[in-house]
Amino acid sequence: MPRSTPVPALAAPAARVHESLVLEPRDVRFDWARLPLHWIPDEPMATHVINVLHLLLPEGERWFVKVFKEALPLIRDEQLREEVLGFIGQEAIHAEAHQEVLDHLLGQGLDPRPYVRQVSWLFQRVLGDKPGLTPAQRRENVIERVAFVAAIEHFTAFLGNWALNSPGLDRAKADPTMLDLLRWHGAEEVEHRSVAFDLMVHLDPGYLRRVRGMALSGPLLVHLWVRGARFLLAADPTLQGRLKPSWREAGRIARRGLLPDPIRSIRSGLRYLRPGYHPTQEGSSSQALGYLATSPAARAAAAHG
């Protein structure tokens, strides 16, 4: 049994803000062979609400990578370009790490493929390249997608920050390898939380672009999450459709610290619309880097890297 990894105590206040971090992917590996289907014991609802991540992220993060590769030629600043390249590598590794969990679910009799096919359609067809666009329209499409990524990255940083500050998951004896995946990923999301926003502002500082990015992707993300949780609970072979998700139940689970509070999540989305918003105002780089120095997967990656 791998030992559970405590999240280090929050650092001294003066050291919390870190600017100009060098971003690099970490070559992490996880062993899922012994992951139980309900990896938060006796909490199938909380398990599956978090499992929606594994349904959305592999396709979603591959799409982030594609969008950011397309944005590279538009970048006019060397430091931002380096940060974007680091971001791309980190997202590519995230996608593969979650893909492995997805494959493991299938091996346990929970077939995620119907949902994943829809997610693939969303990212590859709905948000994919369209024929017959002029170069100016193509450029605008790249910038618009960067604005979607920036809005989604606000949520991934929010969730990452939550994962790093979720003692409820430790109390509930959640599987330590899954906790390490969530916290390693969450920490890298906090670490690179400014990149997509900075790229968007670099390509288009207009407020309207930022608002559109959140107005379109925020509600869609919430909807996909609810839909995914409902799907997983229905597809779970051990539950046989007995468990139906509800907001009341989600609120109850959140109060025990197993999920982020739904109200706080929505409030966080609204903060993104404040004119003076910047991602560095949320979460702590020190805490994220402190966790990455502890994480069994990140440490093993460093040792064989």
Binding site: A15, V22, P114, R117, W121, V126, E140, H202, A293
Partner: protein, 362 residues
């Protein structure tokens, strides 16, 4: 994936999913609408400008230890320099055109000066010799703004492990730890006392927390366990030193009182087992020579600066290109045999035998 037939209903019902149908219709109208009024970047706004390089002048130079020189830089007009935090480095463009990273060893509170210390490496790429030989007070050079790949997280208990010149990023950390009243220790490892730079500044911070550890007095190089024995329980370790020292600390960490390890990652190791080969960009494109000690990616980037890449080590897959012809030597850890058979190649690590030309679809 099939992009012409919409995916079926989630629960196997015989109908197209309403959400998918609506999203698809929306996306098909939205993409061409972008570029119209209100749905485009305001063309009257100027494009964002690249950050200009820093202009620096050498303000002072002093000998710190045998073969170690300290340089202090300032803005030529005396203005403040961009802020930085412990662990940050400066990328200097040397007069020859070489670029080198050096950790900042001064005090971040001093906004007027940057300070670095450089040991002369006889077998290096010539950067340290150039610093020693050409950078005298008054010399001008450019640099990139400080960046941090070794950020100090100010955990309550901290062990700093410095190997020789590796003290440079750790000295500002020790200063910050002292300022915050953290429980910190610093072990400074070197061959002999005269090779340990900044011994006086460290003693002035708090002599009880600093342990000089020299090979000549302690009978050889320390083991990882010996170094980590100085860690307070649950401490975060920050290690900067030669690769064997870092590897020894990594191996010994789990059995030690310390809880976590921070160190600076330097990307790809130098290529030592490569042969010279060539890459061609497209079937009719230019042919570029790849020397034995450089990667195909580095050579390709000179011709195509927008080529994406990230890890430089063959695991993230960002730089994947399609191979049109040639026999490659795959050295990545990412691609499956099927992907390789279909022509995928990672030019950051993969190479070819001497005289071979890899034709790439870029």
């Amino acid at each position: 994936m099939d992009l012409s037939t919409p995916p079926p209903d989630l629960y196997g019902r015989p109908r197209t999913d309403t959400l998918i149908r609506r999203l698809t219709a929306f996306g098909d109208r939205y993409s061409p609408a972008l570029g119209g009024p209100l749905l485009r970047r305001n063309p009257r706004r100027p494009l964002s400008r690249p950050t200009p390089p820093l202009q620096l002048a050498v303000a002072a130079r002093r000998q710190l230890a045998s073969e170690v020189v300290e340089l202090t830089f300032a803005d030529p007009s005396g203005g403040p320099l961009p802020p930085w935090q412990p662990g940050a480095h400066l990328r200097l463009a040397l007069p020859s055109g070489r670029e080198r990273h050096y950790s900042l060893s001064g005090d971040p509170a001093d906004r007027l000066r940057y300070r670095i210390a450089v040991r002369r490496l006889p077998g290096g790429g010539g950067g340290s010799a150039e610093v020693h030989d050409t950078l005298h007070p008054g010399a001008r050079l450019t640099a990139r703004r400080p960046r941090n790949g070794f950020a100090f997280c100010a955990e309550p208990a901290v062990l700093l492990l410095a190997g020789g010149i590796g003290i440079t990023p750790l000295l500002p950390m020790a200063r910050e730890a002292q300022r915050h009243g953290l429980d910190w220790r610093l072990v400074h490892v070197g061959r002999s006392a005269d090779t340990l730079p900044y011994a006086d500044e460290l003693r002035a911070l708090d002599a009880h927390r600093v342990v000089p550890r020299t090979d000549d007095e302690h009978g050889g190089v320390p083991t990882g366990a010996e170094l980590l024995a100085h860690a307070p329980r649950g401490a975060a370790v920050y290690c900067c030193g030669p690769a064997p020292m870092l590897a020894a600390v990594q191996r010994a960490l789990d059995a030690s009182p310390a809880a976590s390890l921070h160190f600076e990652r330097f990307g790809a190791a130098p290529i030592t087992d490569g042969e010279p080969f060539a890459v061609r960009i497209g079937a009719d494109g230019p042919t570029l020579d790849v020397p034995a000690d450089r990667s195909a990616l580095d050579v390709l980037r000179e011709a195509r600066p927008d080529l994406p890449y990230s890890c430089h080590q063959g695991f993230c897959g960002t730089c994947e290109v399609r191979l049109l012809a040639g026999r490659p030597d795959h050295r990545d850890r990412r691609l499956t045999p099927e992907q390789r058979a279909a022509g995928a190649l990672l030019p950051c690590v993969s190479r070819a035998a001497e005289g071979e030309t890899l034709v790439l679809d870029i």
